[in-house]
């Protein structure tokens, strides 16, 4: 199976090449047979990559330690689940996985459009095959072939990094990759539009769902990564402005800008060059993020290896794409002229534009800070870095401005907002925001940034809440419905708009959660069994923690586990028991000799705050574990109280709901699509999904 997989990977190379050449040729000559062949080659490449991926999985499941990749990321004892997901545990498998998902999305896209939008499809197929070809070339020629043999069979593998043996870490990379790869489709349509000269908003309408899908996976993928860091890294944070985290944030920022600016092109026929540039930029950033995550260009906690060859291939590809697209855009400039002009400084177009400029500003600052060590070394020969304080200083004000726009944008009038429009829509929300800030100030929350965030958050929530209320009430009155059915119909009649508002609410929730960090409590104690410590929450109550002692276990059935030491702490608040929390040190058999154990934290999560315990160190780890010494149970215990962390995860859930509502085909459109493509529907094809 593994041999077959390796073979399939090689065979996919000529297929991708064939499809790419035929796609461009077919688009140029308008010959249907060439185009058909190009489209079919996409199915072929996808099928071959399914076999290749199955080959890698088979190697993992069969403990084939003659393969470098398997020997490096697995061992005989590794749990089944992690062997299956070994496909994307390391750089080599991830790149194949990237190609696999891209092939999957490309196949769906080609299948959906096999009988429609034929003017785009030859070039779309060609662009998709170009990107696929690039990844195949990387896999085969950049020393990252997952099928590379060691030349001998290792006795056992090195095992999977224990920090990666976590549920979130298994789903975080593929979710991000789904987001990265899905964006290739809008990019392909944009290039197709540049090539075939159909430069109105058509390509945007055709790919709106793909853009949203990509954005959804990017958002969720980033939050999964935060969740993993929060649970597994054991320092209580969820975002460290690490180069790899930044790299995944960059395409999210530009994709968010793109999602907003395409609405201006759709309604007002403006910003065509801008949108072309944004789709290009976002695509390049997804490639850049893939490259950065899986190479060691910039020192990072995530970096796996330093490889120059792959760096050159990636940068070369990005440079060529950038050059080719710039030439195309310049060539088409006359047709990309704006159909309208911005009429007023105070209008929805203007709000969208500011949203775009600010998002790009954020992206630029994050990029700049991430690459700063390289830039400074290149210019001055002296490596100077900027850390989290830089990103915080720059992005807090930017984030607040964006948050405010999330409330202003939805209700400000198109073209030109009148004074009346502004007064009518914004007086109450501004007052509510100020009142909320004042009440929080009086109740003791004096942190300026947090206070501003919550104030602006309250403003946005009021704006959007009012919109929902007004819409529901009007509908209830006109249609004579109850309020709940009216709300339901309101949303389903215009899913795109109301889904978008729900996403704005989600962003407010997440920002409010981020602001909670201003009130984090961080206390460290040295405790012996029976010791009682007290930690005050910023919400006013006090936690009383009793350290009960350490219990140990060795190889207790959990695979790969050498030993674990579990500290038990019982928690009470105001005399009432809140139960027991545990925090552990664990050592795995696959860890290097002498390397320290891993920490597992204990979290008690409530709506308003998390209590977070870290077993920092044991006084006499050897005594406890090797000799079971009951007198050596002193530990260092770190206690964190983290207000509003849960709002981040709840916000993410809300974001998913909002985006799904916006994605769902609306009833009318579904019907229209079904009628216009009745012949397709008869064959059982999915309808309405493309437009």
């Amino acid at each position: 199976m593994t041999l077959l997989g390796e073979f399939a990977l090689w065979i996919s190379l000529p297929f991708a090449l064939w499809g790419m050449v035929l796609g461009y040729a077919g688009g140029k000559t308008q010959r249907g047979d060439l185009v058909l062949s190009a489209e079919r080659s996409i199915y072929a490449v996808f099928f071959l990559h399914v076999i290749a991926s199955a080959g890698v999985m088979a190697a993992f499941l069969g403990d084939r330690f003659e393969y470098w990749y398997v020997a490096s990321y697995s061992n005989a004892e590794l749990e089944f689940f992690y062997k299956v997901t070994g496909l994307w545990a390391g750089q080599r498998g991830s790149l194949l996985f990237w190609a696999l998902i891209l092939g999957f999305f490309s196949s769906i896209c080609v299948f959906q459009n096999r009988k429609k939008h034929r003017e785009f499809m030859p070039y779309v197929a060609a662009v998709l095959q170009t990107v696929l070809l690039f990844f195949i070339v990387v896999l085969l020629f950049a020393d990252v072939n997952p099928f590379e043999r060691l030349g001998f069979t290792a006795v056992d593998g090195r095992g999977l990094n224990p920090q990666l043996q976590n549920y979130w870490m298994v789903i975080h990379p593929p979710t991000l990759y789904l987001g990265f790869t899905a964006f290739t489709i809008p990019f392909a349509f944009a290039i197709a539009a540049l090539l075939n000269g159909r430069l109105d908003a058509r390509w945007i309408q055709l790919t709106r769902r793909w853009i949203l899908t990509s954005w959804l996976f990017l958002s969720v993928g980033i939050v999964f990564g935060m969740r993993w860091a929060y649970e597994e890294l054991g320092w209580g944070g969820y975002w460290f402005w690490d180069p790899v985290e930044n790299a995944s944030l960059l395409p999210w920022l530009t994709a968010t800008a793109f999602l907003h600016s395409i609405q201006i092109q759709e309604t007002r026929g403006m910003l065509k060059v801008w949108n072309m540039s944004l789709v290009l930029l976002t695509f390049l950033l997804t490639i850049f993020a893939t490259f950065l995550t899986r190479s060691g260009l910039i020192e990072s906690v995530h970096s796996f290896a330093q490889e120059l060859k792959i760096a050159f291939i990636f940068l070369g590809f990005m440079a060529s794409v950038l050059a080719a697209c710039t030439v195309l855009i310049i060539y088409r400039l006359p047709q990309l002229r704006s159909e309208n002009q911005i009429e007023s400084f105070v209008s929805r177009e203007s709000a969208f534009l500011f949203n775009n400029v600010i998002l790009l500003g954020a992206a630029f600052s994050v990029m700049f800070g991430t690459l700063f060590p390289l830039i400074s070394e290149g210019i001055t020969g002296q490596e100077i870095s900027v850390g989290p304080p830089f990103f915080q200083r720059v992005n807090f004000p930017i984030g607040l401005a964006l948050l405010a726009l999330a409330g202003i944008g939805p209700v400000i009038a198109w073209r030109r907002a009148t004074k009346r429009n502004l007064q009518k829509n914004f007086s109450t929300p501004v007052v509510v925001g100020l009142v909320v800030a004042a009440v929080l100030w009086i109740s003791g929350a004096h942190h300026p940034l947090a206070l501003t965030t919550w104030g602006i958050g309250a403003f946005v929530l009021t704006v959007i809440g009012t919109e929902f209320w007004k819409g529901t009430r009007a509908r209830a009155r006109i249609e004579g419905e109850g309020y709940l059915p009216a709300l339901f119909h309101l949303v389903t009649r215009n899913r795109r708009r109301w889904g978008g508002y729900i996403v704005h609410v989600a962003m407010v929730m997440m920002f409010m959660g981020f602001a909670g960090a201003a009130y984090n409590v961080d206390e460290r104690f040295h405790v012996e069994p029976g010791d009682v410590v007290q930690v005050a929450s910023p919400l006013g109550h006090t936690y009383t923690l009793t350290y009960e002692g350490l219990s140990t276990a060795r190889q207790n059935g959990m695979r790969n586990l050498a030993w674990q030491a579990i500290a038990t702490v019982s928690v009470t608040e105001g005399g009432e028991s809140l139960g027991i929390l545990t925090t552990e040190k664990r050592s795995y058999t696959t860890q290097e000799a002498g390397s320290p154990p891993m920490t597992e934290v204990g979290i008690r999560s409530t709506f308003l705050e998390d209590l977070y315990l870290i077993l920092s160190a044991m006084d006499d780890a050897e005594g406890v574990i090797m000799r079971g010494d009951s007198n050596a149970q002193g530990i260092d215990l770190q206690v964190l109280v983290k207000p509003l962390v849960n709002w981040i995860w709840l916000g993410c859930l809300t974001l998913v709901c909002g985006t799904l509502i916006a994605l769902w085909p609306s009833v009318d459109r579904k019907r229209a699509a079904a009628e216009s493509t009745a012949d397709l529907a008869a064959e059982g094809a999915p309808v309405g999904a493309a437009g």
Binding site: A154, F364, S365
Partner: protein, 140 residues
């Protein structure tokens, strides 16, 4: 055209603010990334450099790690990667990361005190190659 002009002013305004934020952000938060050799040279040339926050990468010297009695204070020595004769003692008052060992390369952020001890505020371990074994390691 007048309206567009006003609009441009707005956009330029945003760009200016972002540039200003980046500029002040960099100048107030940047830290030099030095090797121990470079750090010693700097401090010798300019004693006020003792006050400046720096980032230093070095190799922990095996056998030098110990913990101060009864408090959260870790002490160990670090040497230059290229020139092992250049060393200094590090004091770190925080929980060590799981990846810290006596054989690891560390990146420290803090300042070199006048008494020659490096007071580290943060400690990162460089573990880039840890889970990517070389052929030789797998053979062993």
């Amino acid at each position: 055209m007048k309206k567009n002009g006003r609009f441009m002013v707005g956009l330029v305004g945003v760009a200016t603010v972002v540039t200003y934020l980046i500029w002040t952000g960099v100048s107030e938060t940047m830290v030099y990334y030095l090797t121990p050799v470079e750090l010693m040279q700097r401090v010798e040339a300019d004693p006020t450099f003792h006050q400046v926050g720096v980032k230093v990468g070095g190799q922990v010297i095996p056998g030098t790690y110990h913990r101060a009695e009864g408090e959260l204070l870790h002490i160990f020595d670090v040497e230059d990667l290229d020139d092992p004769s250049v060393t200094f003692t590090v004091e770190f008052r925080d929980a060590l990361p799981d990846t810290f060992t006596e054989t690891v390369e560390v990146v420290l952020e803090g300042r070199l005190r006048e008494d020659g001890v490096f007071e580290a505020k943060t400690l990162l371990t460089k573990c880039g190659s840890r889970y990517e074994a070389s052929q030789e390691e797998l053979a062993g």
